[in-house]
């Protein structure tokens, strides 16, 4: 019962954070509300017994990535007058909602058709570092290596792009 309350609270928080993201005009405010979403998602992961992911969500997402974003926003020293005019965004928003209602309802329909089993009790090792690590380095070794390559490429790319070299037209 307690878990359900927690779920409801985290869910509401994350939705509010997301709505904040798309409504706040200044990116700084949007980033702050996204952090709320991230943290509440971390809570949800914990509810799902995904311990390692819970930690990673907090450290990598809410920590590293979000602080990187915030850092850049502050680094660029964005003033309100720098922001683009977004006159039609309410219209886009309403249009988007209209368009997304069928998509969401279809997906929800799909989800509803899944077996409605209650979450069973899982073993104590579920979602732990060791267990996930075993899966990761046995079954998923090759994708893992590829991802590491991807990170390397991204690193080099970021350096090249943001470096001093002039933009080649």
């Amino acid at each position: 019962m307690f878990a359900e309350w927690l779920f409801t609270a985290f869910a509401l928080l994350s939705i509010l954070g997301a709505i904040g993201l798309i409504l706040f005009r200044h990116p700084m405010h949007g980033a702050m509300s996204l952090v709320v979403t991230m943290v509440s998602l971390a809570g949800l992961y914990a509810l799902l017994s995904a311990r390692l992911i819970f930690v990673l969500q907090l450290i990598v997402y809410a920590g590293a990535i979000m602080s990187l974003i915030l850092f850049i926003i502050m680094f660029l020293n964005i003033q309100t007058r720098d922001l683009p005019e977004e006159k039609g965004r309410i219209l886009y928003l309403l249009g988007g909602i209209v368009l997304l209602v069928p998509v969401a309802s279809f997906l929800i329909k799909v989800v509803k058709s899944l077996p409605a089993t209650e979450a069973t009790i899982v073993g104590s090792g579920f979602g732990g570092v060791k267990e996930v690590g075993l899966v990761l380095f046995q079954d998923w070794l090759l994708p893992f290596e590829i991802v590491s390559l991807l990170l390397l490429v991204a690193l080099i790319g970021a350096v090249v792009l943001a470096g001093k070299r002039r933009f080649v037209k």
């Binding site: 779920f7 869910a11 997301a18 709505i19 993201l21 798309i22 706040f24 990116p27 996204l34 979403t37 998602l41 949800l44 799902l48 017994s49 995904a50 390692l52 992911i53 969500q57 990598v60 997402y61 990535i65 974003i69 850049i72 660029l76 964005i78 720098d82 922001l83 683009p84 977004e86 886009y92 928003l93 988007g96 997304l100 998509v103 969401a104 997906l107 929800i108 989800v111 899944l114 409605a116 979450a119 899982v122 579920f126 979602g127 996930v132 899966v135 990761l136 998923w140 893992f144 991802v147 590491s148 991807l150 990170l151 991204a154 790319g157 970021a158 350096v159 792009l161 943001a162 933009f167």
Partner: protein, 98 residues
Amino acid sequence: MIQDYLILSIILFSLGILGVISRRNVFTVFMSIELMLNAANLAFIALSRLHESMDGHVLAMMVMAVAAAEAALALAVVILLHKHKGKLDTNVFSLLRG
């Protein structure tokens, strides 16, 4: 119960799409994409719980890694954009205009 998680994931994902469509601010668009990734992660984890398998966790980790890579690159692009155009408007990128 798991269904509720999945429905939440759908809602968050839709909100992410809405952000991408309706906003012109580069940062907001970028963060909306992050939001969608998170929504996907939530679905992974929820389904992983449902099937009691940890493959979903692995996938979620990979998504995070990709997100990190993406963040690095995208932010570099944003810096460049700001450097050259002095703007944060996605409408500046309209080279594809027919």
